[in-house]
């Protein structure tokens, strides 16, 4: 399957994704990122590596060890990335496609939803057929829209249609043998039937200090003259995502350029990230992160109180 090259946007000059067609056929495109473009927490990376190795081990497990007879519907690699916005879930989905040297088909709920009852399942079928025919990685962004719990008390044609779409998606997942990635901010509402069909769920937390520092270093272009104290800003501003850091760098550079300054001063970055954290505070009151700790560490915490 030839790789579809993206045309540059006429205004910005940057490559743009080919527009999807609402008829349900989505053009596979070349993955935009590899895992080298991502700064991930070591635990997250290792969880992803474990899931990716599943593909390599499939022949041994399914064919040589006979699981193809007992686990017929589990030959697909289905992974779910969940966590706050801007933590790299979409980039990681592209990373998965790059890892397997495959194109990616990015599906949003709006691409497949139809106001006509029965058309949404048909669009889903077309997408899965297209993914199979082109051997592409299927990526469902904002997956909670599609994988949330089915309606138990159906009162309208819409409820029936939603349930019908989800049932069709379950069947398609059973038959699919390729690679499928879901990404969501809200995992709590996933239907348990979908949870069972997904091989692994990887939590993308907001980056800790070390990761934040690496992200600042990674995203700050070497050519950009600046006086930023990366260690300080990474230490002082937590609760920010990689995407927030990226926006802060862009805003600071733009502000300095507008003022005809030869160097972007430290305070511009501080101001930008401060503004972002302020809006995040209003928008997201609570953030959750999880990490593995040693028994002795927990013991220490227990003994304190």
């Amino acid at each position: 399957m030839p790789i579809v090259k993206e045309k540059p946007n006429k205004v910005t000059g940057f490559p743009q994704a080919k527009p999807t067609e609402r008829a349900g056929i989505i053009t596979p495109v070349q993955a935009k990122f590899t895992f080298d473009d991502l700064i991930l927490d070591q635990t997250v990376k290792s969880e992803i590596d474990d899931l990716l190795s599943f593909r390599k081990l499939q022949y041994q497990v399914f064919e040589q060890w006979g699981l193809s007879k007992t686990h017929k519907e589990q030959k697909k690699v289905a992974i779910n990335f969940y966590g706050p916005s801007g933590t790299g879930k979409t980039m990681a989905a592209h990373g998965v496609a790059s890892h397997f040297s495959k194109n990616i088909m990015q599906v949003n709920y709006a691409d497949i939803e139809s106001k006509y009852v029965g058309d949404t399942p048909k669009n889903l079928v077309k997408i899965f057929e297209q993914a199979k025919a082109t051997d592409s990685v299927l990526f469902f962004d904002e997956a909670d829209a599609m994988l949330s719990k089915r309606v138990t008390d159906m009162t309208s044609a819409t409820d029936t249609s939603v349930n019908q779409s989800r049932s069709v998606l379950l069947m398609l997942l059973n038959d699919f043998e390729g690679i499928i990635v879901f990404a969501t901010n809200f995992i709590s509402n996933f239907d348990s039937a979908f949870m069972r069909r997904i091989l692994g769920h990887v939590h993308f937390p907001l980056p800790e200090y070390e990761a934040r520092k690496k992200i600042w270093q990674h995203l700050l272009p070497k050519k950009l003259p600046n006086s930023l104290n990366i260690d300080r800003i990474a230490k002082e501003y937590d609760g920010v995502s990689g995407s927030d850091i990226s926006n802060a760098i862009l805003k600071s550079a733009m502000r300095a350029a507008r003022k005809n300054m030869a160097c972007v001063p430290d305070e511009f970055f501080t101001h930008a990230i401060e503004q972002i954290t302020k809006s995040n505070r209003k928008n997201h009151q609570i953030t959750v992160t999880k990490k593995s700790v040693s028994e002795s560490f927990v013991q220490q915490q227990l003994e304190k109180g």
């Binding site: 995992i187 002082e236 505070r281 959750v288 593995s292 700790v293 028994e295 304190k304 109180g305």
Partner: protein, 111 residues
């Protein structure tokens, strides 16, 4: 470390700003524990509470300790940011840019 059940079952009496503040922390920890259930499959053994001041913001941090099915320990951190203006000045004075463990202070308020 505070057991969650003890927090949920306790009351903080009084209508002063300080009492209202500790009550809001208590309610928040219960909310945070609900949030933790989305991420943790094992039993949560206890929680420690921290506070931190950063510029105009004040952060309340609860760390929940649990053991997963594989027997490994996990620390789930729930962070809430609030405006410093919502925090009584006495407590604000205590907070600094370093995380400060306020578990014992909360425990003293619980009855």
């Amino acid at each position: 470390m505070l057991p969650l059940l003890a927090i949920a079952a306790s009351v903080i009496i009084g209508s002063t700003l300080i009492a209202r503040y500790w009550n809001s922390i208590k309610d928040w920890i219960i909310r945070a524990a609900e949030k933790v259930k989305e991420f943790v499959k094992g039993i949560v053994f206890g929680v420690r509470v921290f506070a931190k001041k950063l510029g105009e913001a004040y952060k309340e941090i609860s760390r929940h300790y649990s053991k997963n099915k594989q027997g490994s320990w996990e620390e789930t951190t729930v962070t809430r940011k609030i405006d410093s203006s919502d925090v009584p000045s006495d407590i604000l004075k205590m907070a600094s840019s370093e995380e400060r463990d306020i578990t014992d202070k909360l425990e003293l308020q619980l009855q």
